[in-house]
Symmetry: C2
Subunit: 273 residues, 2 copies
């Protein structure tokens, strides 16, 4: 999916919601456990319940990988159930040197038809190159994350600003907003003002709203740009809204709640009518 | 495998060689392509040819992951063919927040019985915790890598030294040499002197000798400690030593060459007789 299509989808759906499919076997409703592939069944139900209200799904690869090759089959089948007008993110936080990065890019952009993949910048800019060679695919670089440990290294002072600021500046010089986005945790909502100054054009993928304590309004106010420029991710609050037989309805309600807030915000900003 | 066992193996085999199983379908000998699972057959042959001369194997997960669930099956079966007295490293460079890191740890230490996993430190110390909870398993943290881009962020100045130095110091304060190692690229052999001052006890996993231009003697001289403290990785130079019907013999010869150099060095240092 290209940038323009993503922006069009945001306008049409009046939503910049990304639903995180962080599916845990231990947390899915008991009645689904009878199914032969209960994680896939759960994902299918969540997609059916939320697809009208979100513009993106994010699959946290770790949750599937723990089941070995079976988990990767679930990833493949889950993607098949996501409509083609929805942006699909592999949250894998990969990052390695040229030859290996090429394999990772091939994994997520060819073997599995993801639109975007999250990567860690630690090893340097050359690790991004193989991902950037794919047209209409996005590389989402970790900038400032939502965990406590984000202060250990990301907030270190360097001659050119904090480490996360240097990462953003160097990556933005290296590639443009047509194929790069940044991960910026919602628990650092105040710093999104600063990030917007560094990258006025790029989309930001913002996890951590809700369960991790990030504030929706603050993130939206601080991160909005002329293209909306935000994908706000919610995982647990939506997919585990309830764990009884009506879990799909609960998930749908939570997705609608967030979509409505987003719609109000987009109207306020004059982005939609 | 625990630290003491690894040291014993190094003494017995007179080797600190790690063979990198970076197997590419495009590079394996043509006569193996008739096989139903030629990558696995290749790995089995390489293991058979080199297992006497190395103390560790490193599987570069990207190379397998690109084949989807089939690739993960090859990982599983490859591990089954590695003798239990050899240290097995998942080179996956994962790194994520608590809950997700827990899943990654489960993947590599439970679903697949790896002894160690490489991780990226960018997201902070709390991302290491779930890995450290496994006894006799090692977390190998990226410190200074062998690619050109390693200078982009790892070499940035901070008030406490270069970023890679801060990573090493903070991680070494957070966990000890019984469950932490560091990745230090052989192309930065001169900086290994400095790294040894920061972490006199920890093992270093050193890729980049040979194909990437790192110097074996310099790395060994600069990195050696009282427990040897080194695992030097060689991938392409060994596994693709030739690609004809005698590829196993060529691989064995290359492994022997490196093992002999290591034996000479260990004798010189009085580590073995």
């Amino acid at each position: 999916m290209d940038l323009q299509k993503l922006i069009t989808e945001i306008k049409q759906k009046k939503s910049y919601l990304c639903v995180g499919l962080d599916t845990e076997f231990e947390k899915i409703p008991k009645h689904l456990l009878k199914s032969e592939n209960s994680i896939l069944e759960f994902n299918k139900s969540i997609i059916k319940a939320t697809k009208k209200y979100c513009v993106a799904y994010k699959l946290n690869i770790a949750f599937y990988e723990q089941y070995g090759s079976k988990g990767w089959d679930i990833i493949e089948k889950t993607i098949e159930h996501i409509p083609s007008d929805i942006f699909i993110i592999a949250d894998s936080k990969r990052g390695d040197i040229g030859n290996t990065a090429k394999m990772y890019a091939r994994t997520f952009f060819e073997t599995y038809n993801f639109d975007a993949v999250t990567v860690s910048p630690y090893m340097g800019l050359d690790t991004l190159q193989p991902f950037l060679e794919y047209k209409n695919k996005f590389t989402i670089v970790l900038a400032l994350t939502s965990n406590e440990g984000s202060s250990d290294f990301q907030m270190l002072d360097t001659p050119d600003g904090k480490l996360y600021e240097v990462v953003i500046k160097k990556v933005a010089e290296y590639a443009n907003d047509k194929n790069i986005m940044f991960v910026t945790g919602a628990t650092n909502a105040d710093k999104i003002v600063n990030i917007r100054k560094l990258v006025p054009e790029h989309f930001l993928l913002v996890p951590g709203v809700g369960a991790q304590g990030g504030d929706f309004s603050e993130v939206s106010e601080n991160g909005f740009n002329k293209n909306c420029g935000l994908l706000i991710n919610s995982s647990r609050n939506i997919i585990y809204a309830s764990n009884d037989e009506n879990f799909e309805i609960s998930a749908e309600h939570e997705a609608i709640k967030l979509q409505s807030q987003m719609e109000q915000f987009l109207i306020k900003k004059g982005f939609i009518k």
